[in-house]
Subunit: 289 residues, 2 copies
């Protein structure tokens, strides 16, 4: 009948060509590139597993539930991306070009908050939190070993019971706890007092929690402390330190833990707090891709 | 340090192995199979396009918007699946094993409603709708040509201005229009009176509409009429007839139109309505996969 054959005589293979033809006129080359790969992979996935209409519907319902539980305080799509390893992969891809001498990055996670209080060296970031005291110290240096004075260190962590301030029962919306901003001294040193963090489960009462359960996966992250190191002229370092010996250190539900970022507690003498010493190494902006 | 290397020394390739290892204990073999393919394709997609953190965030925000506009009356995830060709692909896959002699299937779409009124042969399904009259007739037969009497024909369509009853401005929630259920007579014949449908745009005021626009795609479906043919002992046929000559016949935004399902209006003589004649061929249950 003289119709364009790719358009109407669609089979399980030609429909992909047809879908790609439709975006031939997209005038944003990067969007086009990303969507071509997305459509190819979505179609190939469906063909590979011979996705049934019931399974497709289950997927639609799952995504709908993820969308409906997501609000200003809870981002279930990010949690989904995290638990599938996509967030960590995107982080790895973004940091591929970095110098091997620089500290590895790790996931930002959903609990960073702007505007944490600026504290002085040695101040405690945990207020009214029970737990074993912990002292964090070390230096911030460039990849060639130069100490960086005046570098900003944002630090945030969960409490001993595994909750960030945002998740406290009595959280009112503005107060900050277990988070602060420090500056390195003239020798690039920092000193932070806090309490030991513990492992915790990501929110598991929603669709992603159900998914993890159905997949036979636990929802836990090993104990860790988050950091962002920022110094003028240097690439910001978003990372975290993970506590050695944690039960979940090798099975972080969001694929954040890295061998280079695993630290041990150094036992404090007598009444001293246990300590973590860690030097953060940042890369100059000019070295970045 | 003796750690399981795949777990903590993750790079852009080993993270995929690590994510797959995590679901090794899943005790639902089909879920495991589907998720393995999904994780592989999601990771491969990110690697292939070198997805940046900003692009990843744009994707999270897009999915969040799709979730938030979805409610009982609007399913933006299905619309997303439809416009990417995934829904049509799943339909094609589900019907691959069907006899070539049977009528091809086409998308159910989001506008089918249970409980449409049962009408008698020749009744009109359009009440109070302006438009050119149209007569639909033909037979329902088995793949070996046997007429099927008492087969159910569910029919539904958009009005002349491109809206289904659910989308009418004055829609109250229960009334049915432009949809009904008929039965074939002793010779397998059906006769339905209606008005001519027209092409229409899928909802384009949401995130999927923005996506189509950014991709340089129009949001239109060619004029069509939906059918479900059900006969005891036969596989239900979900299909649609598409009107020849429609501007969008070769670029249906949801990839539903098929050459075998394209029909022409037969001009009515004098005061007679234009007509479509079409024989639906259904396959016995025993022949299905």
């Amino acid at each position: 009948m003289g119709y364009a054959p790719a358009m109407r005589n669609l089979d399980q293979h030609t429909i992909t060509e047809s879908a790609l033809e439709r975006i031939a006129k997209c005038n944003n080359p990067r969007l086009k590139e990303v969507m071509i790969a997305l459509i190819r992979h979505v179609h190939e996935f469906a063909r590979e597993v011979n996705l049934t209409p019931d399974e497709w519907m289950a997927g639609i319902e799952f995504l709908t539930a993820v969308g409906h539980i997501t609000d200003d305080k809870r981002q279930e799509f990010i949690l989904l991306s995290d638990t599938l390893g996509l967030s960590a992969l995107v982080d790895i891809l973004a940091n591929r070009g970095k110098s091997k001498a620089a500290t590895e990055s790790s996931l930002l996670g959903p609990f960073f908050r702007e505007g944490a209080p600026e504290l002085a060296a040695g101040d405690k970031i945990a207020r009214g939190i029970e737990g074993e005291p912990l002292m964090l110290s070390g230096r911030v240096t460039s990849t060639d070993g130069k100490p960086l004075s005046g570098a900003h260190i944002d630090v945030w962590q969960a409490s001993t019971d595994g909750r960030y301030d945002l998740q406290f029962d009595n959280f009112k919306g503005a107060e900050m706890n277990l988070r602060a901003r420090f500056r390195t001294d003239g020798e690039g040193r920092y000193l932070i007092r806090t309490v030991k963090p513990s492992s915790y489960g990501v929110p598991s009462d929603g669709p992603v929690g159900k998914m993890l359960n159905a997949l036979g996966r636990h929802p836990f992250r090993p104990a860790h402390i988050h950091f962002i190191i920022s110094a003028s002229g240097y690439r910001p370092l978003v990372t975290a330190l993970y506590i050695d010996g944690d039960k979940y250190i090798d099975s972080d539900v969001v694929f954040g833990s890295r061998e280079q970022l695993v630290v041990k507690y150094r036992k404090g003498k007598a009444a001293e707090a246990d300590a973590i010493e860690y030097d953060f190494v940042v890369e100059a902006n000019s070295q970045s891709r």
